[in-house]
C-alpha cells in the first residue's frame, strides 16, 4: 500500500473514531456499528476472493457459526469475558472452515463455488431444523459479555468502539499478512497457480490456511454481531448474506483491502437509503430493485470498483488525454503480443 492509500485508510478510521462524539445519534451509532461488523466479514472474504482467487459463496456460514458460538458459549449463568468468548467463537468458525476448505479445495471454478454454497446451506439447515440453534426463531443472548469490570457491551458506545477497534485490528493484520511471504504466495496462486507449483509451492496447504484464517475472521465478525444484537437466527447463515458479502467486495474493488472496507460502507449505506420510507414511502418495500440498479450501474461505470474511482475521475478531467492513453495502451498491448 503506498502512502496516499495508507493516509486514506487512516483518515477513515479516524473519522469513525470521532463519529460518536461529534453528533452520531443512537440510530447512527447502531448503523455504523453494524456496517463495521459487516466490513470485517467483507475483509475476511477479500482474503479468499480478491487475494487468493477462491470465489467462496458460503462465507455467511462462518459468520453465522461465529455468531451462534458466541451465544451458545455465553450460557445462561452470567456474563462471559469477551477475552475468551471471541477467540472461542473464532475457533469454532475456523474449525468449520478447515473442514469446508479441506473438501471444497479439491474442486475448481464453478464447482468450488457450488461446494462452498452447499456447505453453507448445510450449516443453515442444521441451525434451522434442529433444536441446537433454536430453529427459525433463533436464540437470545442472556448476558452480553464484559471486558473487565467497567466495559459492558450493553452500552452502544462500548459496542461501537470495540467493533471499530476490532475492524482496525483485522485490517492491520491482513495488511501485514498480505505483505508477508504467505500473502505473496496467495497472490501468486491467484495469478498463476500452475507456475507456483512449477516453482515449488505446494499450493493446497496455502489455500487451506487462507480458508481457515478467513473463516476465523468471519467468525469474529459474526460473534460481534451476536453480541451487538443480543440475538441470532438462521438468516445469519443464509446465502443472501454470502451474496451480499461478495457484492460488497466487488462494489468496493477486488484485490484491495480498502475495497472491502469501502464496499461494505457503500453497500450497506445504499441499502439503508433505499429502505428509508421517509424518502421512498411505499416503494421502500422494493429496496432490492433500487440496490440492484445502482450496483449494476456501478459495476458498469467502475469495473475495478469504487477504489478505481479516483483514476476514472482523473481520466475524465484530463479530457481527450484519456482517449490518447487508451490508444497508447492498445499499442503497447499489440507490441507485447507480436
Amino acid at each position: 500500500m503506498d502512502k496516499s492509500k495508507g493516509i486514506f485508510v487512516a483518515l477513515v478510521f479516524m473519522a469513525l473514531a470521532l463519529y460518536p462524539f461529534v453528533g452520531g445519534g443512537g440510530y447512527g451509532i447502531d448503523i455504523v456499528t453494524k456496517i463495521m461488523i459487516y466490513a470485517i466479514l467483507a475483509l475476511s472474504l477479500e482474503l479468499l476472493v480478491g487475494t487468493t482467487g477462491l470465489v467462496c459463496f458460503g462465507q455467511a456460514a462462518f459468520f453465522g457459526i461465529g455468531a451462534y458460538a458466541a451465544v451458545l458459549f455465553s450460557g445462561e449463568q452470567g456474563a462471559a469475558s469477551i477475552l475468551w468468548l471471541l477467540p472461542a467463537s473464532m475457533l469454532a468458525a475456523a474449525v468449520y472452515a478447515l473442514a469446508v476448505g479441506a473438501l471444497s479445495l479439491r474442486t475448481r471454478g464453478v464447482y468450488f463455488i457450488m461446494v462452498t454454497l452447499a456447505f453453507a446451506q448445510m450449516a443453515y439447515f442444521v441451525v434451522h431444523d434442529t433444536p441446537l440453534g433454536g430453529g427459525t426463531d433463533g436464540i437470545y443472548l442472556y448476558f452480553r459479555p464484559t471486558l473487565g469490570e467497567k466495559l459492558k457491551f450493553d452500552e452502544p458506545l462500548v459496542m461501537y468502539l470495540f467493533s471499530l477497534g476490532t475492524l482496525v485490528f483485522v485490517f492491520g493484520f491482513l495488511t501485514v499478512l498480505l505483505n508477508s511471504r504467505f500473502g505473496r504466495a496467495l497472490a501468486g496462486i491467484r495469478v498463476n497457480e500452475q507456475r507456483m507449483r512449477g516453482t515449488g509451492f505446494t499450493t493446497y496447504p496455502y489455500k487451506l490456511a487462507a480458508f481457515v484464517i478467513s473463516g476465523g475472521l468471519a467468525g469474529l465478525g459474526g460473534a460481534l454481531f451476536a453480541i451487538k444484537d443480543g440475538f441470532v437466527n438462521p438468516e445469519l447463515m443464509s446465502w443472501h448474506l454470502s451474496g451480499a458479502a461478495l457484492m460488497m467486495i466487488i462494489l468496493g474493488g477486488l484485490g484491495h483491502l480498502r475495497g472491502a472496507l469501502i464496499g461494505a460502507f457503500a453497500f450497506l449505506l445504499l441499502q439503508e437509503f433505499f429502505k428509508a420510507e421517509a424518502i421512498f414511502g411505499e416503494f421502500a418495500k422494493h429496496w432490492h430493485l433500487g440496490m440492484g440498479i445502482v450496483i449494476i450501474a456501478a459495476v458498469a461505470v467502475l469495473p475495478r470498483g469504487l477504489v478505481g474511482l479516483p483514476e476514472v475521475l482523473r481520466k475524465r478531467l484530463a479530457g481527450s488525454g484519456g482517449g490518447e492513453s487508451r490508444i497508447g495502451g492498445l499499442k503497447s498491448a499489440q507490441g507485447g503480443a507480436k
Partner: protein
C-alpha cells in the same frame, strides 16, 4: 568436473487415450552437459518435460532425481529438490513486476509460510537470488516494469530468470529461444555455457544453429519415440535423422 547423472528418466511413457505422446523414452541428464531434444511439432518434447517435472503423471516408467526415485513425488516437491523448468508458452505472473516474478520464484526455496509478520521483500536470500537471476537473463533494467507489459522476447527472458531464481540443479528448458531476437539469443547461449559446469540442462529447441552450437548431446524424437541420439556431429550426419526430421524442416 565429474559428469554425474542428475536426472534419469527410464521408459517414460504417456498416453492420451489412444495416442501415445511419449513412448518408452529413456534419457539421462548429466552435470556439465547440455542435452538437446529436437523433433517435429507434436513429437512429444513438451510432454516429456511435463513428465520429468511432474506436471502430469506418467503412464509408465520412472524418474530419478539426484539419485532418488521421485516417480511418486509431486511437481512442487521435485521443484524444491532442484528441478527447474521453463515453459514453451509464457507462464509468468503478468500483473506483478518483473522483480516480483523473480522474487516469488526464489521464495519457493525459502517459503516460511508461517512467518506472517515478516515482510516478503525483507527476505534477503530470495531478493538476492531474484536479482542475480534477473541479471543473468539480462533483465536488470526492467525490474520495476509490469511483467505483462514487456515485449515478448523479454517475457521469454523472464521465463528463464524465474527458472534460475529457484536455484535448480537440473534445468528443463522448453524452447527458450523461440521469439527472441539475435542479440538475446546470443546472451541466452552464453548463459547456457556459463550454467553448464554445475548444472544438467535439457534444451528443447527448434533453432538448429543454436542447438548444434551449444549442445553436447542431442536426442531426436519423432511421434513420441527416440529415433537417434548422439553428439552433434553424429546427428548432423545421421541419414535417419535427415530423412525423418532435418530433411523436412530445412
Amino acid at each position: 568436473m565429474a559428469n554425474d547423472v542428475l536426472l534419469r528418466g527410464k521408459d517414460i511413457t504417456r498416453r492420451w487415450g489412444g495416442l501415445v505422446a511419449v513412448n518408452k523414452v529413456s534419457i539421462e541428464l548429466e552435470r556439465n552437459c547440455v542435452h538437446a531434444v529436437i523433433g517435429t511439432n507434436g513429437a512429444g518434447k513438451s510432454t516429456l518435460i511435463n513428465l520429468l517435472s511432474g506436471e502430469i503423471p506418467l503412464s509408465d516408467g520412472s524418474v530419478e532425481l539426484l539419485g532418488k526415485d521421485v516417480t511418486g513425488w509431486t511437481q512442487p516437491k521435485r521443484a524444491r529438490a532442484g528441478l527447474g523448468r521453463s515453459y514453451q508458452r509464457n507462464t509468468i505472473f503478468p500483473s506483478f513486476s518483473v522483480f516480483e516474478n523473480c522474487r516469488l520464484a526464489a521464495q519457493a526455496k525459502h517459503q516460511k509460510g508461517w512467518a506472517w509478520w515478516e515482510r516478503a521483500d525483507r527476505c534477503s536470500v530470495s531478493t538476492d537470488s531474484a536479482r542475480d537471476a534477473a541479471h543473468r537473463a539480462g533483465l536488470d533494467k526492467l525490474m520495476d516494469r509490469t511483467a505483462g507489459m514487456i515485449s515478448h522476447g523479454q517475457k521469454r527472458q523472464l521465463e528463464i530468470a524465474m527458472c534460475l531464481a529457484t536455484d535448480p540443479k537440473v534445468l528443463l528448458l522448453d524452447e527458450p529461444l523461440a521469439g527472441m531476437g539475435a542479440e538475446e539469443t546470443e546472451r541466452m547461449l552464453a548463459m547456457l555455457d556459463e550454467l553448464r559446469p554445475d548444472h544438467a540442462i535439457l534444451l528443447v529447441e527448434h533453432d538448429m544453429d543454436a542447438v548444434f552450437r551449444v549442445a553436447n548431446q542431442i536426442t531426436v524424437m519423432v511421434n513420441g519415440t527416440v529415433i537417434a541420439r548422439g553428439d552433434p556431429d553424429f546427428i548432423r550426419n545421421s541419414p535417419e535423422v535427415r530423412v525423418a526430421y532435418l530433411g523436412e524442416g530445412h
